[in-house]
């Protein structure tokens, strides 16, 4: 028995370490400890032994069994490790670039627009939207622009033929012409006509001018306007808003100043300058950024608000211009070419 066990263990000590795959291992394991295994067979011989030998042989078998189990466990552990290692393949070169695309980028005009809207939202302005195809009433008449004002000229504003019909752009006057809006102020009119004061909106959007495209002009560009209608709104409130906007956007040290100006739809009207010393590529102490003023009583009358009761202010600026100042971009056409080398710089 002792010799038999020794031979079995010697065989196992050679056989198990040589195993590399799980099926062979299972087969080998069965050959020793399976129902028909060699060790199993030896154990079955125990019954036939004389009583006094049983404890001695039993001890021998148990020892052999323990040794055999160690071979089996070692082989299993080795095979399991090999199996995991096989899932891995060769080690990665962490310095290779990812072949995946991306990341995607927001357009700089979107970034600037969203930043302005975020700043304005904090002080209660919500986004209003309106059609880009407009009518003469909403774009001009309601904004106190006389019918022979040069801005309405066919040489400055894009019009549609009299036969044009836009199903979802409402007309106020039956025979007025459709045009492409020259400013987002038309949204102010539509918003005031639709709702009741108090009103506090920001209307970012695309506008159109019949202009030669060059480094600073574009047939379409984007504006952002704020309108605030409430009781007792003052010039000082307007100045406070502009100070707040540009301090939020450019840092607390940024100052704004008003210069008196003329717009048909505000009285008094101002152009807004801001300190530009920390802006890239600007060599002047002040730079013009937009126009603003107190809503002209005529505009309130046009939308049916009592100018004795309601007061308000409006502010408007060009988004391209702002983006150009913020990022130091010197040609407006970059915004419309979508060269990826441009788009990837701002996200």
């Amino acid at each position: 028995m002792h010799d038999q066990l020794s031979a079995l263990l010697a065989k196992a000590a050679v056989e198990f370490p040589a195993l590399t795959a799980r099926p062979e291992f299972e087969a080998a394991k069965a050959r020793y400890v399976g129902p028909h295994g060699e060790l199993t067979a030896l154990m079955k011989q125990m019954g036939a032994l004389p009583k006094e030998q049983k404890p001695i042989v039993g001890k021998l078998i148990n020892e052999a069994k323990g040794q055999l189990q160690a071979h089996i466990d070692a082989a299993l552990s080795r095979i399991a490790d090999a199996e995991l290692a096989a899932q891995l393949g060769p080690a990665v070169d962490p310095t290779l670039p990812s072949p995946d695309l991306g990341p995607g980028t927001h357009h700089p005009l979107t970034l600037v627009r969203e930043e302005m809207c975020r700043i304005l939202r904090k002080v209660g302005f919500t986004i209003a939207d309106g059609p880009e195809v407009e009518t003469e009433y909403y774009c001009f008449d309601a904004l106190n622009t006389p019918s022979d004002h040069p801005a309405r000229d066919e040489k400055d504003t894009f019009y549609f033929p009299a036969s044009a019909r836009f199903g979802n752009v409402s007309k106020k006057i039956p025979d007025e012409k459709y045009l492409l809006r020259t400013h987002t102020s038309s949204v102010q009119i539509r918003t005031m006509l639709k709702g009741e004061p108090p009103i506090r909106i920001v209307s970012p959007g695309r506008v159109y001018r019949r202009d030669t495209t060059d480094a600073t002009h574009s047939a379409n560009f984007h504006q952002l306007e704020c309108l605030y209608v409430d009781k007792n709104v003052t010039v000082r409130d307007l100045k406070a808003l502009l100070d707040y906007i540009f301090a939020s956007l450019l840092g607390k040290e940024t100052k704004t100043r008003f210069r008196p100006h003329y717009f048909g739809y505000t009285e008094p009207s101002f152009e807004v300058d801001l300190t530009a010393t920390h802006l890239p590529k600007v060599k002047k102490p002040w730079i013009e950024i937009g126009g603003c003023g107190m809503v002209d009583p005529t505009v309130f009358e046009a939308v049916g608000y009592d100018p004795e009761v309601w007061t308000g202010y409006a502010f408007g600026m060009g988004l391209e211009r702002l983006a150009m100042l913020l990022y130091g971009i010197d040609d407006i056409r970059y915004f419309y070419q979508n060269d990826l080398r441009f788009l990837k710089q701002f996200a």
């Binding site: 980028t105 549609f160 979802n168 047939a219 008196p260």
Partner: protein, 821 residues
């Protein structure tokens, strides 16, 4: 408009620096576009001196002279000065900078040793004293007295401000207007020009041979027309001072008569016109509308065809001036003119603007008439011009003044209170300062009364002068007070921010959401022009629709039509990047597009994306490219942002839809019902014609904004089963042309029937599509995974298998789709 500082000083004693004046103009509300100074600046310690002797300094490479120069006893007599100029010859009188002088550029003159000699000053060339450069020393002509300060000898310098005048302030299209503003700003008196000959026609008999009558046929277009006859003038150059002023502000001097007209216009803002009286046929002036077909050759040498909407000044037979805009060649003043008719008129601004626009002809005169001239200053201006004509060209004012029409009645008073102005401004300005602001602008306060509440300050009745047509209401006076107070002094404040009053517009929310989604999936957001060339639009819209997208007045051919899709722009961007060698694949855009609905166009909100095959993009590790189903995936996400469940939408073929590759793309929705979409491969021939390399998968989603405004309902939680699912696979053999959705839909229906109330059919999903060996010709196999589950218990194999058998049998009978074994 260009404004000369010397000229302004005729009316207001400005001693502020150019910078201070620029700043004043700016904060009065006019943009200063440029400031140009001419002539020598003010120079101290630079005087006239005469070179007495010149000795060459020996042993130098350069020609350097030691001169003795006499600057007169007051300036120290004879000095010795080193000079390098070639023309420092004895006898020349030249500018001499004495020690202590500071020359332009901050160069200070000191007494110093040069080339071994003490030099007691410097002899100056023109550039050294701020004049245009010339060769050598500036030799002064006319023997000016020794020791005279140089500024007294040189022609006076001037500063010209180029100012943009806002359209509400036609009164400032003149030197007097700007002077009035500056006088108010600097708190200085304003001096009007003195009139000399006003009404001085008494002794002279009329000359009906020169002008017998004036008739105004259309007083609406011409409320006031005055004509003055001047005889015996001598046409010649205008005096130097006038020429200098006109040149300074950019006008070319012509002759004394024309120059006076221009001068008075630039002084007062009132345009004038002078006729050669002998050229007025019939000695008549008729102010009338042109007859259709009448022509006139204007002073610029062009023949102009007139219409019956245009106002002309005519003689007995023919038009001689396009009223208020430009004179004709046939009646103007020339060198041999001796007798004049001077016209001074008020024309209706709308009439002038219309004619100017129709003829595409404008002039300094029409520019002012269009904006409106002071209706009450015409006669002052006319007499001012007559003064200057007599002064510069001689002659005599003869006969009566022909005056048709009258002053446009003018009387305007605005009542405003201190309290009202304070309320609008939001900060305090003392009442006395407000009143002073009015008065300084000649807005006379005719009455000051206390208001009902004494603490609220007075109420003023303000008389508005005729040149301030822009002041009509109390709010207009608020601006005047603020302008003169200074907009830089508006005090800081905390921004007023009482709670939110609304929600962001849904269009903005939608655009933000889909852009964030696409950017998060590695797309680059683009911005393209809305206006597109006809050729591009024709590639995307049916021929009939192209015409309806056209502008009436495009500016350029490549921006003539509204876009019917965003894809044209995105392909242009793709092409641009490809042609610049920049790898670009995923681009997206949001924006408005314009589609047909019910025979009209509708403005729609749109989002589109393209995924181009990265042909030139070489990567060390290849990734699977995008296909139709990538586009479908992204579109479903976009549609969901608009509240559209894309998975439930029937898909249609894109056969005949421009821009798309039929069989490899699909459409959904219908703009008649509010939205539509397309996805898949863009037309290969189109891409080829655009020069785009590789195939492009794309998607676009278009929705009318009204459709977006529907409130979305809050989602409700749905219970789900915690028992295990039972999975079964089923492959069916169907025609090649049968679409998966049809089979899936049928399977769901039949499976539900088979499961009955016993358990649920959780999902039926395709997991394999097979074409090829083992299948009959024209057939394919679609393999579905069916998931069954009960909410109450674990399902047994028997019941699930029974259900599956029923499904197999039923699908074969109802649809003839055999199970693939």
């Amino acid at each position: 408009m260009k404004i000369s500082l010397n000229w302004l000083r005729d009316y207001v004693a400005l001693d502020a620096s150019n910078d201070e004046i620029s700043r004043a103009i700016t904060f009065l509300g006019f943009e200063v576009e440029g400031v140009h100074s001419t002539g020598a600046p003010k120079l101290d310690n630079v005087v006239v001196g005469e070179i007495l002797t010149r000795t060459k300094v020996p042993n130098l490479k350069k020609e350097i002279s030691l001169c003795t120069v006499d600057v007169g006893p007051a300036a120290g007599g004879v000095r010795s000065i080193i000079c390098g100029a070639p023309n420092c010859d004895p006898g020349h009188r030249v500018p001499v900078a004495l020690p202590g002088a500071v020359l332009p550029g901050g160069f200070t003159i000191t007494q110093a040793k040069k080339y071994g000699h003490e030099s007691q000053g410097m002899l100056c060339g023109p550039d050294e004293i701020g004049l245009p450069a010339g060769d050598g020393l500036l030799v002064l002509s006319g023997q000016p007295a020794l020791g005279t300060p140089i500024n007294q000898v040189l022609p006076p310098g001037d500063t010209v401000f180029d100012i943009e005048i806002t359209p509400n302030r036609p009164d400032c299209q003149s030197h007097l207007g700007i002077a009035r503003e500056l006088a108010a700003w600097f708190k200085l008196p304003l001096n009007y020009p003195q009139e000399k000959f006003r009404g001085d026609t008494s002794g002279s008999p009329a000359r009906p041979d020169l002008l017998s009558g004036v008739r105004v046929d259309t007083s609406e277009d011409c409320p006031l027309y005055s004509a003055f006859v001047v005889t015996g003038v001598k046409v010649g150059p205008s005096p130097d001072w006038m020429q200098r002023r006109l040149s300074a502000v950019g006008l070319r001097p012509i002759n004394n008569i024309v120059d006076v007209g221009n001068y008075v216009m630039l002084e007062t803002g009132q345009p004038m016109h002078a006729f050669d009286a002998k050229k007025l046929g019939g000695a008549q002036i008729v102010v009338r509308r042109a007859a259709a077909g009448e022509k006139i050759k204007t002073l610029d040498g062009k023949e102009r065809a007139l219409t019956d909407r245009m106002l002309v000044i005519a003689d007995a037979a023919r038009p001689v001036v396009i009223a208020g805009i430009m004179g004709g060649e046939n009646s103007g003043v020339s060198a041999d003119t001796t007798d004049l008719v001077l016209e001074c008129a008020i024309f209706n601004k709308h009439s002038i603007r219309r004619t100017s626009r129709e003829l595409a002809l404008s002039s300094d005169s029409s520019y002012r008439y269009e904006r409106g001239v002071d209706p009450h200053a015409a006669h002052e201006a006319a007499w001012r011009a007559l003064d200057l004509i007599v002064e510069t060209a001689g002659g005599q004012i003869v006969g009566p003044v022909f005056r048709i029409g009258g002053d446009v009645p003018w009387q305007r008073e605005v009542v405003v209170t201190h309290d009202y102005i304070t309320e609008k401004l939001g900060f305090d300005i003392p009442a006395a300062e407000m009143r002073a602001a009015f008065e300084s602008l000649e807005l006379t306060v005719t009455r000051e009364e206390p208001t009902t509440h004494p603490a609220r300050g007075p109420a003023w009745t303000v008389s508005i002068p005729s040149w301030r047509d822009d002041l009509d209401r109390p709010i207009d006076l608020v601006e005047e007070v603020l302008r003169l107070h200074g907009t830089e002094k508006i005090p800081a404040a905390v921004v007023r921010a009482p709670g939110l009053v609304g929600d962001d517009d849904r269009v903005a929310l939608f655009n933000r959401r889909v852009t964030d989604y696409l950017v998060g999936h590695d797309f680059h957001e683009c911005v393209n022009y809305t206006l597109r060339p006809a050729k591009e639009v024709a590639a995307w819209a049916p021929p009939a629709a192209v015409e309806t997208l056209a502008l009436a007045n495009p500016f350029t051919e490549d921006q003539s039509h509204l876009r019917p899709t965003l894809l044209g722009g995105l392909l242009e961007s793709l092409k641009l990047n490809q042609s610049r060698g920049v790898a670009a694949s995923r681009l997206c855009e949001t924006g408005r597009v314009f589609l047909e609905r019910g025979g009209q166009k509708v403005e729609c909100v749109a989002v589109a994306f393209v995924i181009a095959e990265a042909t030139g993009d070489r990567k060390w590790l290849k990734r699977d490219g995008a296909d139709f189903y990538s586009a479908k995936h992204h579109l479903a996400a976009i549609a969901s942002s608009a509240g559209v469940d894309f998975a439930r939408q029937p898909l249609a073929s894109t056969e005949g839809v421009p821009g798309w590759q039929a069989g490899h793309s699909a459409g959904a929705g219908n703009i008649e019902h509010g939205w539509c979409a397309q996805i898949g491969l863009l037309n290969l021939a189109l891409l080829k014609s655009l020069g785009i390399e590789g195939r492009v998968q794309a998607g676009c989603f278009v929705i009318v904004p009204e459709k977006l405004s529907a409130e979305s309902t809050r989602r409700r939680f749905a219970e789900f089963s915690l028992f295990p699912a039972a999975l079964r696979d089923l492959a069916l053999v169907v025609d090649q042309s049968t679409v998966a959705a049809e089979v899936q839909k049928a399977l769901v229906k039949i499976a539900r029937a088979a499961a009955g109330n016993a358990f649920a059919v959780e999902s039926v999903a395709v997991f394999d599509v097979y074409r090829g060996a083992g299948l009959p010709e024209g057939k394919k196999s679609l393999a579905f995974s069916l998931v069954f589950r009960s909410a109450e218990r674990t399902l047994t194999d028997e019941e699930v298998n029974a259900a599956l058998h029923k499904v197999q049998a039923e699908i074969a009978t109802t649809h003839g789709w055999p199970v693939r074994k």
